[in-house]
Subunit: 340 residues, 2 copies
Amino acid sequence: MREPAVTLKDVAKLAGVHPATASRALNLETRLLVSEATASRVLAAAAELGYQPNAVARSLRTRRSNTVGVLVPDLTNPLFPPMVRGLADRLESHGYVALIGNTDGDDARGRRVFEQMRARHVDGYVLATAHLHDPLLEDAGRAGVPVVLMNRVAANEDFPAVTVDNESGVRLAVQYLVGLGHRNIGCIAGPQDVSTGLARYHGFQSAMTDAGLDMADEWLAFARSFSIDEGYRCARQILAAGGRCTAVAAGNDMLAVGCYRALDEAGLSCPGDLSVVGFNDMPFIDMLRPPLTTVTFSHQQVGAQAADLLIERLNGGTGPAKVVYVAPELIIRGSAARYP
Amino acid sequence: MREPAVTLKDVAKLAGVHPATASRALNLETRLLVSEATASRVLAAAAELGYQPNAVARSLRTRRSNTVGVLVPDLTNPLFPPMVRGLADRLESHGYVALIGNTDGDDARGRRVFEQMRARHVDGYVLATAHLHDPLLEDAGRAGVPVVLMNRVAANEDFPAVTVDNESGVRLAVQYLVGLGHRNIGCIAGPQDVSTGLARYHGFQSAMTDAGLDMADEWLAFARSFSIDEGYRCARQILAAGGRCTAVAAGNDMLAVGCYRALDEAGLSCPGDLSVVGFNDMPFIDMLRPPLTTVTFSHQQVGAQAADLLIERLNGGTGPAKVVYVAPELIIRGSAARYP
DNA sequence: TTGTAGGCGTTATCAC
DNA sequence: GTGATAACGCCTACAA
């Protein structure tokens, strides 16, 4: 039933050469070490037998695997699939395959997957899960494995990273709300231990200050994760605080969706009773009721750039870590209205 | 900079035993072959050095990898992330890690990823990409690697599989439309070379026949993929055909979303001008405008069951392939209205 | 109970 | 240019 795999030795025998020679002929880098004639004989033999090199054995010998570990905090957040796609496409075109791991925001799980990947000799990592101060990053740094951060950055800039300019993005959103006449603006901030949560909150603060507006504590809530549930919880908290909060800036679209749910449940309307802006412009968010006004950027591009940064490292590139900031753009849809 | 990895030999030396003994002490299965005392000495040494077994070497030796290859047609379809999550969770609890590959509906790409995974010695596959007649499946069968199908099944029932009962699901949806008074019901069918597309179309046909209704060719369109774009194209085609089609059953939610877009663009309203029902109840579909009436089932459960079926095979289970059908349920929301 | 030896499939480093 | 040999790190008969 189970056909024994054809190995290099088989190819060599059929071609009438030594396995080492066959190996040289089969690898582009070493093919020039071998005579034209034998090379083609080996290639023919390989084709005839349907030879597929055993990646595991090769990896053991070469200590490389042409494999990249990708850690994502939450695949069910539609933001990430396009990013992963941009990343995997680019990696693939350079001969690498991406191993995707979902951590569900669980650090312990993230570490397990990370170690598993290391045990499998991944050549590098792309982490979309980084905390500001992340022990995983220190370990990775110590192990000397190239690491690139995606979507999030770390507190120190030791690692190459790609992210949207979060602060500017939120400023765009808040300025827009202010321009619509809003003065009492609340904020559902994301987790403050990851860069996206922190930077967006900072952007909110500075935009409010610039506009000469005060931030009311009761209209400020911190989500423990970028999830719909947490957005819902925070929105209820802000709603319960009462007062005349007329607009809310959410730390990302998932939180904004949670906010929609809270409004629905309270019999309130968006943007009639409350204007809402999000961040990320994730897929499908334009089809909600109302379509969400949010901050957009190219997710695929973030992934592709992360791949580029990693490949640079994998090719031996050194020097200071590049941190790439992708430009955000406000995309105006229907979730924010003029006030009064 | 790069610390040399600690190996079994290091552990053995520190514990003052032979590497073979260390190996036995470290593996649960063989630990009983070693004296209590030395076992704990080895374990202590391993802990002290932070020993992590080299999975590549182990895999080369044992021809197993505790690794499962998962092929998904489109990660950006929100249906799949929860499935993958249910699958990965269950696999992980049995000591396996899932390698996720996205094929983007591209067969050639799917094959490349499949081969890559095979070269990495995955112990089995979970394929959500299967065509009715899929050469990949034959190859896999010949190679003797356990394969389980997820979401889709193959034409022959040689492979264990988990899927929702597509035919019944669509019948539920069509019966509902009929109950609302619709007589002129169209269909945006999915690709007919995959089981979901075919079975749902069959369900549509039989439900129409049972209801004593005729299917009009001009209100029938076949999508080339389960994508928003194709749903849009098909909906425009049906709209252009004119006549009095008052309801449409879409092959899945992505197609229904495309249908929404076509209606929007034509200045038509749903469900006012056209009732629409979908299939899958994918995440976020309940928040669209209008919330989609669709056929639901537990995505995580499909993934978890697929994992169970595979694990059974991996544990040497044999016998005829089980095909598990998960029960569908109609979930009524706002996209279908009474007619007239 | 522990040590020895061999090999999984490749590739790198020697010789020839 | 090609062949022989060793080694990557681990596991497992077999021997002691």
